[in-house]
């Protein structure tokens, strides 16, 4: 039940923040901050407790699970489960949620209550996505993220906000609909096979179907996730949405929404359609590499700071894509580390961009320059996260990218080699960005206040996380290890059987007890 409370907590906290704003805007902010912050601390506690316990590392049952009937006639359940991977991602969700609320403290000045309601609503929906073990429920949460985000961009965004909000909505909505079709298709295929009509993820695993059906159903999911990830060429909603959104919106979009897609690939697409995923892997990896290089060049071309950072997101997500489809433990673990590190790095860069915009009211790099002498703290923070973004060893992104490339190299060396070239272009755009803001002559004569205590606290926390990920990522890696291993075993089931030490009878026995689920981690 705790998992349901976690989601409700955020939602109710949001409602309360909205309600309180009638009397006090400050208290509205405080309520929101407390809601997300308290949950973050609680989850951190759970994580630290479980780190030392063996159940994360060894034969992984769900850390927490709940399964309630919702619409039993249709086989729809409120089935939530948390394992290492979901725990990491909801930790990220709450962490960036807190950062986003804190970063909006001064930026958002109207409809403050509604703003925080939307923000917490998104966080709640994200938690749902990361925890759902029922595909209908997954779809439900996936879609209810859209509305508050639409409001967030459309109400509190920059000049071109309505265009961006609409574009974002249409792209993701179309992707989502394809996913719905696929979910229903899977539901009926499974129902016809077994007579059991259910949306339950665990039961749908291992559904046997014709390869062509599998491919079609897989593509529905693939396109939905590819739009959100985003995979080039379905990325064009992203620069507009990220640029026009308020700081909190950009942080959540880049830091979390994109991760929901990565999570979808890992949790849903790979285990449900192992064969089809394998077939499409070369194409997906090629698109990933194309995205890394293409978006990096575009990032360099931008003169709008937020747009630049937005394109770097597309570029970095390319690494996640190839990591996921390279599909070995190194690459998948790397993809997860990138998701976390990128969330923090890009979040920090957007917060920096927002803080700059508050002070100089422009995002145009041509009008900036030479700010180091007036805002050295901002300069240091910006430099550090630009370095993280270009993959400097010692910072989180490097660990993820290196693992992904190492794993990819084993599977497909040319893809790894071309992806590595992304390091060079990343260096070009990152240095260019820092230099255009902070160095050179201060032609516009900007004299602006440096980071205040609140902003410094945000930056410090984010720096600590990115350094931790870079120098001691092992706790994170051990947390997700079990999930990755079980997903891998699931997806390479057939291959596994051919070469496995399991004898014939043992295999048959497992097949009898739990058809197609022999090596699955979860409780049957």
């Amino acid at each position: 039940m705790i998992l349901i409370y976690l989601i409700l907590w955020l939602f109710l906290g949001g409602l309360l923040a909205w309600l309180v704003s009638r009397w006090s805007t400050v208290w509205s902010r405080r309520v929101a901050l407390f809601t997300a912050g308290a949950q973050l601390l609680y989850l951190l506690g759970i994580w630290l407790m479980n780190l030392s316990r063996p159940n994360l590392a060894s034969s992984g049952a769900w850390l927490m699970e709940v399964d309630l009937a919702w619409i039993p006639q249709l086989g729809i359940h409120i089935h939530l489960g948390m394992d290492g991977l979901s725990l990491l991602l909801i930790l990220l969700t709450d962490f960036l949620g807190v950062m986003a609320i804190a970063a909006s403290w001064k930026e958002i000045q109207y409809k403050i209550g509604f703003f925080h309601f939307n923000l917490l609503w998104i966080l709640a929906a994200l938690l749902g996505v990361f925890l759902a073990l029922d595909l209908f429920l997954f779809y439900f949460f996936w879609e209810i993220m859209l509305l508050p985000l639409y409001f967030l961009i459309g109400i509190w965004g920059h000049e071109n906000r309505l265009y961006a909000a609409r574009k974002f909505f249409i792209f993701t909505q179309l992707g989502g609909l394809l996913m719905l079709v696929s979910i229903l298709g899977l539901y009926f295929v499974h129902g016809q096979n077994t007579g059991v009509y259910t949306f339950d993820y665990l039961q749908l695993l291992g559904t046997s179907m014709a390869p062509s059906t599998g491919m079609l159903l897989m593509l529905g999911f693939f396109i939905a996730f590819a739009v959100k990830m985003p995979i080039v060429p379905l990325h064009t909603w992203l620069p507009d949405a990220h640029t026009e959104a308020p700081t909190a919106g950009s942080v959540i979009l880049a830091g979390l929404i994109l991760k929901a897609a990565g999570y979808g690939f890992i949790r849903i697409l790979l285990p449900l359609f192992p064969d089809a995923a394998q077939q499409v892997a070369p194409v997906a990896m090629a698109l990933g590499v194309a995205g890394i290089l293409y978006a990096a060049v575009l990032a360099f071309a931008q003169t709008d700071l937020k747009r630049l950072v937005a394109y770097t997101s597309v570029s970095h997500m390319g690494f996640v894509v190839i990591g996921i489809f390279a599909h070995n433990q190194l690459a998948l673990q790397g993809a997860i580390v990138i998701m976390l590190a990128h969330g923090v790095t890009t979040g920090a860069l957007f917060i920096l961009a927002g803080a700059l915009y508050e002070r100089v009211h422009t995002r145009d790099l041509n009008q900036l320059g030479g700010l180091w002498s007036t805002v050295p703290r901002m300069g240091r923070v910006g430099l550090l996260f630009a370095l993280a973004s270009l993959g400097l060893p010692g910072l989180g992104n490097f660990v993820g990218e290196f693992l992904v490339l190492l794993g990819t190299y084993k599977v497909n060396a040319p893809v790894a080699v071309f992806a590595t070239l992304g390091f060079i272009v990343a260096t070009v755009y990152s240095l260019w960005m820092v230099q255009r803001i902070f160095t050179g002559p201060n032609l516009a004569g900007w004299q602006i206040p440096d980071f205040d205590r609140r902003e410094l606290a945000i930056a410090t926390l984010m720096i600590l996380v990115i350094l931790g990920l870079g120098l001691y990522p092992q706790p994170v890696l051990s947390t997700s290890q079990q999930t990755i291993q079980s997903i891998q075993q699931l997806t390479t089931r057939e291959f596994h059987f051919l070469s496995d030490h399991l004898d014939h009878q043992g295999r048959a026995a497992i097949e009898r007890v739990a058809p197609g689920r022999d090596l699955w981690i979860g409780p049957a």
Binding site: V232, P233, H235, T236, P239, V297, L298, F300, A301, Q302, N328, Q329, L330, Q333, G334, G370, W372, S373, P376, R377, R380, L387, L392, P393, G394, V399, F402, L403, L405, L406, G407, Y409, K410, A413, A416, V417, T420, L421, F423, I424, T427, V428, L431, W432, Q435, F438, T439, G440, P441, N442, L471, Y472, P473, Q474, L477, Q481
Partner: protein, 636 residues
């Protein structure tokens, strides 16, 4: 004592942390300097103590490994944060900490009037810490961390005076060009791990020797990829273009990073991976050839520069070319020996040039100097010693012993030969010509009007003088640690290094051959000084006249621009990239989606246009529709 090894890099890194956190607060310069210089000083002291213990009571197997923590552990990939001390890394860290300390001390005075004082020391400390991590790393991933971190510090310090966009450009160029090499190196790491299953250097070398036969394609590929990283960092052909521009940084930075330490990281990498390179003789020959070509090309470029620091920059490229040449023929310890003496005399020259530049209000042009001999005696004498050592003047200079060792082993190595030796010898002539051209232009002759205007020039204080004098002493006596057979036969350093590095494979040669070659080398370097004297002091017009002839002018232009590599890179890489970025700034893919949206709007408008509100239009529509349907039914 050995257990304190981790403190050697930890102190400078800690200094960086403290200085970064302090900056912006009201700390006095004194405290800042104390932290910045002190942290490296303690590090140097610790290195000395550790070194003494290591040399006199060496641990088993002449290596000491200190594991701090496991960095990550995924599917058999488990690099550690661990340090590995052996004779090679000991020599390297000794030079880095000691020379690093002297340069920090010098900087305390040099940067005295700079507003970014703590920032400067923070970056310098970060550099020393990272360089030590690079040298002590027990696995290639940690080495790569140090490798990238020193590159970062180089970027930060080249662009230290950030308000000038030219400095920013130079900084960017240095980072990006070296990153090209680093990317090749990263791919090399993937290849090594994929095939050998570890990145731990000792283990890796063991497995490589076991699994790969000599000349195997994997060994060749791995060695070539790592070489990519090495030529980038060490400014060798074809990634050498960043180093001359890197002189935009303050002079102590040039001395520390772009002369004594970081740029020799490539040499260290190849020496460290010598087992791998021995498995790839083709690549090793390429290393030698790259070294030979770079040392000549850079030598010619140094000959025609006006900027004193650019002379030294090209000279550094050229001297590292010697080290590559040595590595390429398997003369591992000779390369490290030259690294050491080069660190002394080149750091000295940069620091000397730094004083000159500082006293002349950041004037770099040697043709605006002259006659400084009398005005700055300490600088003159120490600079002269450094120049003599760089030119390898016989017997009395450290440079002579190390360069001679390289030339001798190139000549007699089974993989060397007369051509490579000749290239080295020609380079030696160039070296002493350009070096003494610099000395004569700067310190001799009549003072330029500009100098007179700035006179009298203030003498350097003790914090600048002590490093100058110390380095000058080392530039002279540094050679005694490795005396050749003809002169005392006391190869202490080589013996030490041979605990780690194999001996060069030398064909049998008589001692008289060695003596003859030494005399030839000595004569060549003295000839160079003579040429420089005639052309740039006694009869200055000769050189000027030479550059007026058509051929002379063309060569001058070619050499002055560093053989046109900048132009090539600009035309074929930078401009196409910029063109592409400019062309596609608005993302042509987005245009396609826009078209879909536009199409939708058009269609909506067309349909909307049919809604006229006039009855006869609708009636017409109904009639046409009905007729069409009936026609279709009848016809089909």
């Amino acid at each position: 004592m050995l257990a304190l090894l981790w403190l050697v890099p930890a102190f400078p890194l800690f200094g960086f942390l403290v200085l970064t956190l302090l900056s912006g607060s009201e700390t006095s310069r004194r405290t800042e300097a104390l932290i910045g210089v002190g942290s490296v000083g303690i590090s140097a002291l610790l290195t000395m103590l550790i070194g003494i213990q290591f040399v006199f009571s060496p641990p088993a197997g002449h290596e000491y490994v200190q594991i701090l923590w496991t960095w990550m552990d995924v599917a058999g990939f488990s690099p550690r944060i661990a340090f590995h001390l052996d004779d090679l890394s000991l020599v390297m860290i000794s030079v880095v900490t000691f020379v690093g300390f002297l340069i920090h001390l010098y900087s305390a005075e040099f940067m005295r009037n700079d507003e970014g004082y703590p920032r400067f020391f923070a970056y310098m400390n970060l550099f020393v810490g990272s360089m030590l991590v690079l040298l002590l790393a027990d696995n290639l991933l940690l080495l790569y961390l140090g490798w990238e971190a020193v590159g970062l510090c180089s970027f930060l310090l080249i662009g230290y005076w950030y308000q000038d966009p030219a400095n920013g450009r130079a900084a960017r160029k240095a980072f990006i060009v070296t990153r090209v090499g680093d990317t090749a190196m990263a791919i090399g790491l993937f290849l090594l791990f994929d095939n050998l299953g570890t990145l731990e250097i000792q283990e890796l070398m063991g497995r490589a020797a076991q699994l790969w036969p000599i000349g195997s394609s994997l060994a060749v590929a791995a060695a070539a990829l790592l070489l990519g990283g090495a030529v980038g960092k060490s400014a060798q052909l074809p990634l050498q273009i960043w180093l001359p521009d890197a002189m935009a940084g303050p002079s102590p930075v040039s001395a520390l990073i772009h002369a004594a330490t970081m740029v020799t990281a490539g040499v260290y990498l190849i020496a460290r991976m010598h087992v791998l390179y021995s498995l790839a003789p083709v690549i090793l020959s390429i290393v030698a050839i790259i070294g030979a070509i770079t040392l000549l090309m850079a030598g010619f470029s140094a000959l025609v520069q006006r900027d004193i620091k650019r002379v030294l920059a090209y000279s550094t490229m050229s001297q590292i070319g010697y080290m590559f040449l040595a590595l390429g023929v398997g003369a591992w310890s000779a390369a490290i020996f030259h690294f050491m003496t080069h660190a002394f005399f080149k750091a000295l020259l940069f620091l000397g040039a730094g004083v000159v530049i500082l006293r002349l209000d950041h004037e770099h042009d040697m043709f605006k100097m002259g006659g400084l001999r009398k005005q700055m005696p300490i600088v003159f004498w120490t600079f002269l010693i450094g120049a003599a050592s760089l030119s390898a003047l016989p017997l009395i200079t450290a440079g002579f012993y190390s360069k001679d060792k390289i030339l001798w082993e190139v000549w007699s190595s089974t993989t060397g030969g007369v051509w490579l030796w000749a290239a080295g010898l020609a380079g030696a002539l160039l070296t002493s010509v350009y070096t003494f051209r610099m000395v004569f232009l700067t310190f001799f002759g009549e003072p330029h009007a500009y100098v007179k205007e700035k006179s009298p020039l203030k003498a350097p204080g003790w914090r600048m003088s002590v490093p100058l004098v110390t380095l000058a002493v080392l530039s002279i006596v540094g050679g005694v640690v490795d005396l050749p057979e003809t002169l005392g036969n006391l190869p202490l350093l080589s013996d030490l290094l041979h605990n780690t590095l194999p001996r060069a494979m030398l064909a049998a040669q008589s001692i008289s051959t060695e003596l003859i070659l030494q005399i030839v080398a000595a004569l060549v370097s003295l000839t160079g000084v003579l040429i420089a004297y005639v052309a740039f002091l006694a009869r200055r017009s000769t050189a000027a006249r030479l550059t007026k002839t058509p051929v002379g002018a063309a060569l001058h232009r070619l050499w002055f621009s560093g053989w046109g590599f900048d132009w090539l890179d600009n035309e074929f890489i930078v401009q196409p990239f910029l063109w592409l970025a400019r062309k596609d700034k608005n993302d042509f893919i987005d245009k396609l989606f826009q078209e879909v949206a536009v199409l939708n709007v058009r269609m909506a408008n067309m349909l909307a246009a049919t809604q006229t509100g006039r009855l006869k239009d609708y009636l017409l529509g109904i009639v046409v529709g009905a007729v069409t349907i009936i026609a279709l039914v009848v016809l089909l």
